[in-house]
């Protein structure tokens, strides 16, 4: 056991080109960036040449797990997979795919904090890690198989309790929209093809060791109980979705859906979700009954239970048993997912029995199996939106040969037949024809290849944001704060710090009170009434991004943390801004308060920025990178910004928002690039020097 708890102290580095396996000292090399995505950025910055493309052998994959994963820190079952991302457009730039499950925890028990994959194997392989023993094993018998069978086969070879992260045929075939998946329903988007490019089918882990907690047992238990007491439901929604006797408020959009009379109807016997009082920590697992939330009331009778990641008391993955799927389509009747869209449904215009009827549930399950087994990423449902857009605009017909177009049974699509999904997903996974090859490229390359009209990039209905990815909780939820956050990343921003707080279900009056203590009351607008930007909003945006980076590095779930609000009326619904720091300090023994840990997050985020600038070979982040699509400013056309009832933004105001955001982080106002002083403050003099050598450091 090392000096610190939390970390195992060892990072595994595997070069698939020559089979070399090396062990690195995590503390010496990576403690300053914690773990997870922080390690990913550091390795890419130090080791991967500028302008490397995603499928080049020089690209590296960093599966980063932080000091909290593997412990009982609630909602700490995450893994960050950082690499040069294939779906970023037009330049391929740094980004991270995130997965939950139990893979990251198992890696820690096996004695490893991170796995760095380098090079390219000559033949298909998988990596087998059993505690300290690491083997690169032949995977020729697995190649060509889906994720389910690959996982099952590896478990046959290594033991049924092995945690496997694998790619499907999509990843093997270098489909850009592909995933790495673990534990049946936990997938990291965008990174499957990078595994495939290295001929790496899977990383399988079994661990019998431990993660040490530095704090004494009593202190650790108290901290956990305290944090549980201020957690809400999925997405840290803190009020119930229906009126409850114990609750002062309710909000129909809340994921705290448990109530009397709502069951896990396919459990044998059925289990009532029932009344889930905030104080009752033994019922937290029932709070989020999500199948009915996502799929409608008919999903109640199909719900076996809820599930999710190791260590998380909030269960957000719906587990369904839909017998008709097996009978009608030949797929397993059992499927699990946490995605609101459940993949498959979103391709269809309509279903014969309505949007929330039986066909829609069957489409959800069929889609989950196809995407999950073939390993296809839907890019936050942009794949579905693009498909529908291209179909409606006649662009599929225009870009396919007649014979290929006719080979697709469009009448089944028109009828809303879930079996049609097999046509879509299979063609994408195997890059069949123009249809499959183009759709799997991701939004940016697809739109270019099929010559989407300029309107595509300008209409809110397409959800296009920039660089090949859609909006993810932007202006429609958080005004300028949402816009700023969406601008900062190369893929969709995957940030929930802001939306969890604003969608917690609490009335604006209380949100303003809580915001006043964290960023200033001006961070929150009245419902449907956006006001011009102010410093509070920029602080809120910076906090949101830094906490996301912190979570992706510790590794905690950014769908639950930060805990800015709580369900407890006795606390005035206040959460606790210091819980991440308290968990970190207790587990590692490296005592840091919230401000100190936020500074580490700032260091990590600055690395992301530096990498982006390096690989874009451009310092003008303000003009070239931190952009928003036209619809943000132009819709609805008949409204003026800052009038009630819509979320139309104003271009000048967003430029002011950038000024304020850059100011908060000490970045150069003109370019949005980190200034030397701010980098040196973060201990990144080496990064500043390198940027200067590349002429990417602002003069100020």
């Amino acid at each position: 056991m090392g000096e610190f708890g939390g970390w195992t102290g060892k990072t595994l580095r595997v070069d698939l080109s020559n089979g070399r396996v090396q062990i690195e000292d995590t503390i010496a090399r990576y403690m300053s960036v914690l773990g997870g995505t922080g390690v990913g950025y550091r390795v890419l910055w130090d080791e991967v040449p500028a302008r490397t493309r995603a499928f080049d052998p020089q690209n590296k994959i960093i599966l980063g797990v932080g000091p909290l994963t593997g412990t009982g820190a609630p909602s700490g079952g995450r893994t960050s997979i950082t690499t040069i991302f294939p779906t970023v457009y037009p330049d391929e730039l740094v980004a991270t795919g995130h997965m939950g499950g139990a893979w990251g925890a198992e890696l820690k028990y096996a004695g490893w904090d991170n796995v760095i994959i380098e090079g390219r194997s000559q033949k298909p392989v998988y990596l087998a890690i059993v505690d300290g023993k690491v083997e690169i094993r032949d995977a020729s018998h697995l190649w060509g198989n889906g994720i389910y069978h690959a996982t099952s086969s590896i478990c046959q070879e290594m033991g049924a309790d092995t945690q496997v992260a694998a790619i499907g045929q999509a990843g093997e075939n270098l489909v850009r929209l592909s995933v790495v998946m673990t534990g049946f329903s936990h997938s990291a988007g965008g990174v499957g093809g990078v595994f495939g490019s290295k001929r790496l089918k899977a990383i399988a882990v079994k661990g019998s060791g431990s993660v040490r907690i530095a704090a004494d047992k009593k202190e650790w238990k108290q901290l956990i109980r305290y944090i549980l007491s201020i957690m809400g439901a999925n997405n840290q929604h803190v009020v119930p979705s229906t009126p409850q006797p114990w609750a002062e408020f309710y909000a129909p959009g809340s994921r705290w859906t448990a109530r009397k009379g709502l069951f896990w109807g396919a459990a044998r016997p059925a289990v009532e979700t029932g009344e889930c009082l905030p104080e009752d920590l033994n019922r937290m697992g029932y709070r989020t009954a999500k199948a009915t939330y996502d799929l409608g009331p008919n999903a109640e009778k199909y719900t076996v239970r809820m599930g999710g990641c190791v260590s998380c008391p909030i269960r957000c993955h719906s587990h369904l048993d839909v017998p008709s799927v097996e009978e009608k389509y030949g797929f397993s009747r059992y499927a699990a997912s946490t995605c609101v869209g459940w993949g498959g449904r979103g391709f269809f215009k309509s279903f014969p029995d309505g949007a929330r009827g039986q066909s829609s549930i069957e489409a959800a399950v069929v889609g989950a199996h196809l995407a999950g087994d073939l390993g296809i990423w839907t890019n936050y449902s942009q794949l579905q939106r693009d498909f529908k857009y291209a179909y409606d605009q006649g662009l599929i017909k225009a870009n396919l040969s007649d014979s290929e177009y006719r080979s697709i049974p469009w009448e089944r699509f028109e009828k809303g037949d879930p079996g049609f999904l097999k046509e879509i997903y299979t063609r994408i996974a195997y890059k069949q024809g123009e249809f499959g090859a183009a759709l799997g490229e991701g939004s940016g390359r697809l739109a270019e290849r099929w010559k989407f009209p300029p309107e595509y990039y300008k209409e809110p209905g397409t959800s296009w944001w920039k660089m090949g990815h859609p909006k993810h909780h932007s202006s429609e939820e958080a005004g300028q704060t949402g816009v700023l956050i969406n601008m900062m990343y190369n893929r969709d921003c995957q940030c929930h710090s802001h939306s969890n707080f604003l969608s917690s279900g609490l009335p604006v009056r209380i949100l303003k009170e809580l915001a006043a203590r964290l960023w200033g009351a001006g961070a929150v607008d009245e419902d449907n009434n956006i006001t011009p930007v102010n410093l509070d909003k920029a602080r809120f945006a910076a906090w949101s991004v830094l906490r996301k980076e912190l979570h992706d590095s510790l590794t905690l779930c950014n769908w639950m943390y930060p805990l800015a609000a709580s369900p407890l009326k006795s606390r005035g619904y206040e959460g606790d801004n210091s819980v991440e720091a308290r968990l970190y300090s207790a587990v590692t023994g490296d005592r840091k308060d919230a401000a100190q840990l936020d500074l580490v997050a700032e260091r990590i985020f600055a690395m992301h920025r530096a990498l982006t600038m390096r690989d874009m070979a451009n310092m003008d982040m303000r003009g070239r990178h931190d952009t928003a699509p036209d619809w943000v400013f132009d819709y609805p056309p008949d409204k003026k910004p800052f009038t009630p009832g819509h979320y139309k933004m104003e271009r000048e105001d967003i430029e002011r928002a950038k000024d304020l955001f850059y100011q908060v982080l000490g970045w150069d106002r003109k370019t949005g690039a980190p200034a030397r002083a701010s980098l040196e403050k973060l201990g990144l003099k080496d990064v500043a020097d390198r940027l200067a050598a590349l002429n990417l450091l602002p003069a100020s």
Partner: protein, 230 residues
């Protein structure tokens, strides 16, 4: 007889003894055991309580395993947790052979089975297998616990448990098992889905499928006392 009787919640220590062996049997066995120094007494009083698990409610978060090891051992280590979910999580107790959707578990029908110590009645396999008499009934709860002062780390108890509920702690070099956290099980407190309960003991050995054939034979000198009752 054991499984037929069941146990009332208020059972006294004497009540456990009575229901297990009957008055005559206990008295006679005690008397004989006291006379024979060469035949160690292998009968443990029955546990006062037992953990029972409801697999329809288990959500697979494994907070029970984490609470077990973190609050007892100060580290997270599911491999030595005295409640076991991880090993059944993917495919259930029988592995992946049945095929996708055909077994319990996450890759099956979603049922997650939690394995708990049965706090076995006589003969207690882990205890009778121990050459050092290191597995004893707790003075208060009568849960079978490892006396770490006596345990020499031979791991025979791991071979003896048909339910594979014994663990070996490589850090301490000792065996470790469920001792019901002195009457307040951490796993029960930690479960977010009410899938675990701590209830008065009853014999579940006949109702719980074994995971493997165990080393069952009693060796001398422990077996020397067996004819006294059998």
């Amino acid at each position: 007889m054991i499984s037929r009787l069941g146990l009332p919640a208020e059972s006294s220590r004497r009540g456990f003894l009575l229901s297990t062996l009957g008055v005559t049997g206990v008295t006679a066995a005690l008397a004989r055991a006291q006379k024979s120094a060469s035949a160690p007494f292998v009968i443990l009083e029955n546990s006062m309580g037992i953990l029972v698990a409801d697999s329809t409610r288990c959500v697979g978060c494994r907070r029970c395993e984490l609470a077990c090891t973190e609050f007892n051992d100060g580290r997270s280590q599911p491999a030595i947790a005295r409640i076991k979910v991880a090993r059944n999580y993917n495919f259930g107790p029988r592995g992946q052979g049945a095929g996708l959707g055909r077994s319990p578990g996450e890759f099956g029908n979603f049922r997650v089975l939690q394995d708990t110590c049965l706090q076995c009645p006589h003969p207690v396999p882990c205890s009778v297998a121990c050459p050092n008499d290191a597995i004893v009934a707790d003075l208060e709860t009568k849960a079978r616990r490892v006396d770490t002062g006596k345990c020499k780390g031979c791991r025979l108890c791991l071979e003896a448990c048909p339910w594979e509920m014994m663990n070996f702690d490589e850090v301490s070099g000792k065996a470790t098992k469920c001792f019901l956290c002195d009457g307040k099980p951490e796993c029960v407190e930690a479960c977010p889905a009410l899938a675990l309960r701590f209830v008065p003991w009853r014999d579940l050995t006949h109702d719980t499928p074994v995971r493997r054939a165990a080393l069952a034979a009693l060796r001398d000198p422990k077996s020397a006392g067996c004819p006294a009752c059998h």
